[in-house]
Amino acid sequence: MLHLWLSGIGGLLQARELMFLALGMAMGLFFGAIPGLGGATALALLTPLTYGLDPFTALALAGGVMGAVPMGGSITAILLNAPGSAPSAATCLDGHPLAQQGKAGLALGAAASANAIGGIIGTISVLAILPIAKELVLLFGPPELFLLAVLGLIVVATASRGKMLRGLIAGVFGLMISFIGYNDITGALRFTAGIAYLWDGVHLVPALIGLFAVAEMINLSVKGGSITKDAKAVAITSMTSGLLETFRHWRTVVRGSLIGTVVGAIPGVGGTVASFLSYSLTVQASKDPESFGKGNIEGVIAPEAAINAKDCSCLIPTLAFGIPGGVEMAVFMGLLVLHGLQPGPLMLIDHQLEIYGLIWALTGSCVLASFLGLFLARPLSKLTLIDSEILVPTVMAVALVGAWAVDRNIGNVIVTAIFGILGYLMIRFDYPRLTMVVALVLGAAAERNFHQTTMMSDGNLSIYLHRNVCLVLLIGIAALLIAPLFRGLKRAPAVVTAGLGK
C-alpha cells in the first residue's frame, strides 16, 4: 500500500500535473468565495476542458478545485457573513463576530490553518481506512442514518442550552420547512401550494445565503457604519496570530477533523452536517460555552477543520458505490465517467493509483489554498472597513445574483429574500439560526430513513437494538440527553447562558 501512496505523490509531482493543480486551486478559491457558485459550478465548467487530458491530470485539476473551495467559502463567511458554500455557514457563527471586532485577520488565519491541518488529518484517516471503505459504507443503512440525524438534531438543540426553548422552536420550524416538496417514499407533493419551484423543497444554498449574508446586510443597513469600526485592530491583526491559535486549540482541530472524516464517509449526509456538528460538539465540550456566537476563535477552528477533513472522506461513498454526498460529488462523478473511470467497487481495485493521486491533489490544494488565505488575510480584512452604504447594496446584488446562479432558477432569488428577512427577524428576536439550519439539512433525510426502517422491519422498533452501530448511536443520544442533567447538578444554580446569539 505504501508504494501506491508514494506513486500517487510521485505522479502528482510533475510539472504538468502541478500546473493543473494550481489552476484548479485558483478556480476553487475564487468560486468558493462567491455565494451560490461553489465547487459544483467550477467542476461543471472545467469538465469539458478536461477532454484532452489523461485521467490522472484531470483528477489533479478536479482535486485542485475541490481542495480549495472551502477556503474560498471561509473568506466570505468571515468577512461578510456570506457563506460561499453551505458547510461554511457554520464559520459565520463566530467568524463574522470576530470580523466585527476588527479581528478578521485572526479569524482568516485560524480558518486557513485549521483548513490545512484538518485536510491533512482527513487525508491520513482516509488513507488508513480506504482498504475497508466498502465495508464502512455498508455499515450505515436507514436505521443508522435515522439515528444519526436524531443525534445531529439533539447535539444542536442541547448546544443552545442558554436559549434551549428558542433553539428548539427554531429547530422544529426548520424541520417543518424541510418537509416541503416531493416525498420520496409516498410520491406525494406536500406544502407546495401549487408552486412548481417548491417541488424540490426549499433549496438549501439560497436559504443559507439569505439567512446569513442577506440578514447580516439588513442588520448592517439598520445599524449603519461598517462591519467593524476598529480600524486599528484591523491594522495590527496578523496572520500568524491565527496560526498560533489553531495550534493552541489542537484538540478542537483533531476533534473537528475526525468528525469531518467520519461524517463525510457516510453516504448522503454531506459536509454541512459535518461542520455544524463539529461546531456544536465544540460548544458542548467548552468550559466557556456562552462565549460562542460572540467571537470565540474555536467557533472558527472547529467547523473549518471538519470541512476539509470531510472533503477526502466524501470520496469514499462516491468512488466505492457511486453514491454522491452532494452536488459537487455528483458533478465530479460525471467527470470521472468522462475519463473512463466508472465509480463502483471495481474502481477501488482497478484504479488505485488515480485514487491516491486524487487524494494527494485534494490535500495539496487544500494546503496551498490555506497558505494563500494566510497571505491574503491582512489585505482582505480591510473589506470590513468599507462603509455600509457601499457594502450593503454590493453584497445584496452579489448574494441575489449568486442565489440565482446556483441552478439558474429565479425562484432562488425569492427564497433568498424571504430567508433574508426571516434571518433578520431571528437576529432581532433572538432565535438561534444554527438549530434551524441543521434541521433544514437533516429533516427530510430523517423522515425518509425512518420510513425505510419501518418498511424494513415491518414497524418493529427493536431493529434499532439489533444493529451494533445503532446501539452505539443510541448510547450517544442517551449520553447527550443525560449529560446536561449531570452538569446542572454539579454546578451551582448559576444561570448558564450559552452564547448562540446567532
Binding site: 424540490d200 458505490f321 473512463g340
Partner: protein, 332 residues
C-alpha cells in the same frame, strides 16, 4: 352594376392573382415562423434526474458531441431538474417554447407512471415532439446481495410463500419501481417494496447491505457489482441472457419480462417546427454516432443506435400500450 363579358376573365385573372398573392403571403408567414438562424443561442438540455446517475452521465456525454453537429456554434447546457421524481423537469420541457432551445431526456416507462400520479404536472407524453432514442433500451435483472442466504430464484420464490419478499427500489414514480412491480407480478413473487432510495446506485447498495432481500435493477447497474462480487444475479429479464448460468426470460417461460425495458428518449416541446425538428434529430443522431460518444457510452454498456423521430414515437406507443396493462398494479 353589371359586368362586361371580359370581366369573367378579369375576375378569374384577379382571382388567380389574389390566390397567388395569398399563397405567397401564407408561404412567407410560415417562413417567418421558422428561424433560419437556428440555433442562435444556447440550448437547454433538461435532465429530469439528479446529477451523477447513469442517465445524467449519458446526457453529459452526448451534449458536447451535439454541439459539434449543430449547424452553428452554441452551447448545449445540461440542466438537472430532478424535483418531483422528474415530473417538474418533464413539465418544464412540455411547457417550454417550441423554438428549439429546450430539449430534454425522458425515461420510459417511469414518465408514464409520473404522468398518471402527478396529473397536475400538466404534461402529456403523447404530445411531446420526440426526436430520437438515446441508445438501445436496457433490460432489467433480479439480484441479491452476495452475503444473502438466498442462492437461487426458486429459493426466493419459496421465501415469498412464507412472507412478502422485500425489494429495494426508487420512489413510486421511477422506471425501476415500475420494473420491480411488474417483474414480481410476472414472476409471481409476493413482494413488498422499500422505496425512497435516490437512484439505482443507492437502492442496489441497499440490497447489498441487506436493507431488503432482493433488487430489480438495470443490467448495467448490476453487472459491475457482479464483477466485484458484491451481488449475485438470480434471473435476467433479457430474452437471451448475457449472464452465464443465470436463467433468462425464455428459460423462465416468461417472454413478457423482455418487454420491461428502460428507455431514454430525447424530446422537445409540442408543436416544434418541422425543420428545427429535422435539424435537432439529425444532429442528435450524429452526436450519438460520434466515436467518442460511442466509446464512452460503451463504458456503461449503453449501445448507441441511430433512430428517427418516427421510431421514437413508435417506442412511446408500444410502451404506453404495455404500461396500460399494468396501470392498476402501479397506481397502488
Amino acid at each position: 352594376m353589371s359586368r362586361a363579358p371580359g370581366d369573367s376573365l378579369t375576375m378569374m385573372s384577379d382571382r388567380v392573382t389574389r390566390r397567388s398573392f395569398f399563397l405567397a403571403v401564407g408561404a412567407a408567414s410560415s417562413l417567418l415562423a421558422v428561424d433560419f438562424d437556428y440555433p442562435g443561442k444556447n440550448i437547454d438540455f433538461i435532465i429530469p434526474k439528479a446529477p451523477g446517475g447513469g442517465f445524467d452521465n449519458l446526457v453529459r456525454v452526448i451534449a458536447p458531441a451535439l454541439e459539434k453537429y449543430l449547424p452553428r456554434k452554441v452551447n448545449v447546457v445540461p440542466d438537472n431538474i430532478p424535483a418531483g421524481g422528474g415530473g417538474k423537469g418533464i413539465g418544464q420541457l412540455y411547457r417550454a417554447r417550441p423554438d428549439g432551445y429546450t430539449i430534454g431526456a425522458v425515461d420510459i416507462p417511469g414518465s408514464f407512471i409520473l404522468q398518471e400520479r402527478q396529473g397536475g404536472a400538466g404534461f402529456d407524453l403523447n404530445k411531446i415532439t420526440w426526436l430520437c432514442s438515446m441508445g438501445k433500451p436496457e433490460y432489467f435483472c433480479l439480484g441479491v446481495g452476495a452475503n444473502s442466504p438466498i442462492k437461487t430464484l426458486d429459493e426466493l420464490k419459496a421465501l415469498a410463500k412464507t412472507r412478502p419478499v422485500k425489494f429495494t427500489s426508487s420512489g413510486p414514480e421511477g422506471t425501476a419501481y415500475g420494473a420491480t412491480v411488474i417483474g414480481t407480478r410476472v414472476l409471481e413473487i409476493r413482494a413488498q417494496l422499500i422505496t425512497g432510495y435516490k437512484g439505482s446506485s443507492d437502492f442496489v447498495v441497499g440490497a447489498i447491505r441487506g436493507d431488503g432481500d432482493a433488487v430489480i435493477a438495470p443490467v448495467t447497474s448490476l453487472r459491475p457489482m457482479l464483477q466485484s462480487k458484491t451481488v449475485r444475479v438470480l434471473a435476467t429479464f433479457e430474452p437471451k441472457g448475457t449472464f452465464s448460468g443465470v436463467p433468462d426470460a425464455a428459460a423462465l417461460g416468461k417472454p413478457e419480462l423482455g418487454q420491461i425495458l428502460l428507455e431514454r428518449l430525447v424530446g422537445a416541446p409540442p408543436a416544434l417546427p418541422a425543420n428545427i425538428k429535422a435539424i435537432l434529430s439529425a444532429a442528435l443522431n450524429k452526436a450519438m454516432a460520434d466515436p467518442q460518444t460511442v466509446s464512452l457510452a460503451k463504458k456503461f454498456e449503453v449501445e448507441m443506435v441511430p433512430s428517427s423521430p418516427e421510431q421514437a414515437v413508435a417506442r412511446i406507443r408500444e410502451n404506453a400500450a404495455f404500461f396500460a396493462k399494468w396501470k392498476s398494479s402501479l397506481m397502488v
